[in-house]
Amino acid sequence: MRLLPSGDRALIAEFESLSLVRAAHELWVAEAPAGIVELVPAARTVLVRIEPRVMGLGAAEQWLTAHAPVAPAGDGDGPLVEIAVTYDGDDLAVVAETWGCSLEAVATRHTATPWVCAFIGFAPGFSYLVPAAASAPLPSVPRRATSRPLIAAGSLGLAAEYSAVYPHASPGGWQLIGHTDAELWSLDRDSPALLAPGTRVRFVARPS
């Protein structure tokens, strides 16, 4: 872990792997003292926002160093959410070619993989899912060379090591493999994001 400066009320903790980011986020969410007011995980970093009147930058740095994760994250015991997907996306052929398999096998491999939400970015409720620690990684999928101007809410896409469901209609460059009716973002729930960091996810194929 490397601690980087980030102004007068935050630090950024940088890690060598996403798995260590997840381990740090899980540990710190559970144990952080009152002066640490927000933790924002991303691909290789956790942004640590502090309240300087409660805990100074120096004290925060000491606490984070003393509580650095020693091992990558396991699968955790976050809530498990099942998402029913129709695998009929426009980019199935691209993914099948990247993975060296048939169109049907894309769905089979995607549903056979247990996923976990590593972090949220891009838009409210846009959860970046990665294969759970115990599973074999899937081959990395390149982003589309040009973004689509409009992707429907509920579209399931792949990019690099990640899977994500678009929570809102938006532009985007991920390779689309299917769609779901699941509501990724709803203000009618206590937690508006269906898949918060640490949530485990299983995709289930449904007929088109």
């Binding site: 980087l4 980030s6 102004g7 935050a10 927000e38 995980p41 300087p52 970015g121 891009f122 508006p192």
Partner: protein, 298 residues
């Protein structure tokens, strides 16, 4: 419940409180009043709690119909504000003071003359529905109360427990017209840039771009170069803050505002310190800005 009616919103009038911090890991920025000190002052003047919802008017031009008995205060950017009664009597509204509307009247904000964003607080606060604990409009995520439109009725909340403080005019200068100095501290990716880039950042006069909004304030000036090894390298997206100074691939700095994206992939060279953040809200297009290294650790 009494209500204020929007006669004319001006270029952009938004409802804000002090925002919804704590949801960044779900992809939602804190948002909230851009000029927090102006927001707090307006609320204190009318005896509201600091976090009560008020109006943030961009450039002025806002016209509100206020019922008799309403207390209000105007802070932040200065404009010629007047109160016009139904009988047509006009009187000037002093900034930074609580004013009571004796008979139904219209509050008219003129075009701003100093600064950019004016706060108008009504005693009781604006009782619009809260979303994730806040009545702030996040312009990037499209969350919270819609921008004000002509004809909107803004419900005014119940009388707060605190009386209107007896303080007279609060002696506060208008937002600065000349060079504005913002203090900064190093950001997480300061070492992606050359020593010359850091020198330029902290010694040059930058100009506030007209292409600035609540997402970010763009600065025009010398381009900042990366160290040769990192030219063209892509940074994995990481958490951003209000005040983070991102450098886009062409070397131009953008200071992120309250509605910034939660994560971003442009390297952050420096971060504006908390004490300087409210000044950002009042920068006018073309206004010169200097960034200076703040004392402190790092």
């Amino acid at each position: 419940m009494s209500a204020a009616r929007v006669i004319e919103p001006g270029p952009l009038a938004l409802i804000h409180d002090l925002g919804r911090p704590g949801y960044a890991s779900l992809g939602v920025s804190a948002s909230g009043a851009f000029d927090r000190s102006a927001h707090r002052l307006a609320n204190r003047l009318v005896g509201n709690p600091d976090h009560a919802a008020a109006i943030e008017s961009l450039l002025g031009g806002l016209r509100l119909a206020l019922p008799a008995g309403t207390w209000f205060a105007v802070t932040g950017a200065w404009s010629d504000a007047v109160l016009v009664t139904d009988e047509g009597a006009r009187r000037a509204v002093e900034p930074h003071t609580a004013t009571r509307v004796e008979t139904p009247a219209e509050l008219h904000l003129g075009t701003v003359t100093h600064g950019l964003r004016t706060t108008v607080a009504l005693r009781g606060g604006l009782a619009v529905p809260a979303l994730l604990g806040s009545r702030s409009r996040d312009t990037l995520a499209g969350l919270g109360p819609e921008p004000l439109r002509t004809g909107d009725m803004l419900p005014i909340g119940p009388e707060p427990a605190t009386p209107v403080p007896p303080a007279d005019l609060v002696p506060i200068d208008p937002p600065r017209d000349g060079v504005v100095e913002l203090r900064v501290r190093p950001g997480p990716r300061h070492d992606w840039f050359t020593a010359e880039a850091w020198r330029l950042l902290t010694t040059s006069d930058y100009l506030t771009s007209a292409r600035s909004d609540r997402t970010g304030v763009r600065l025009e000036g010398p381009a900042l170069e990366r160290v040769p090894d990192l030219v063209g390298v892509e940074l994995a997206s990481e958490g951003m803050l209000r005040g983070s100074i991102q450098i886009s691939p062409d070397g131009a700095p953008t200071v992120l505002g309250p509605d910034h994206p939660v994560t971003g992939g442009y390297p952050v060279i420096a971060v504006v310190v908390d004490a300087s953040l409210d000044l950002l809200a009042q920068l006018r297009p073309g206004q010169p800005v200097r960034l200076r290294l703040a004392a402190g650790r790092y």
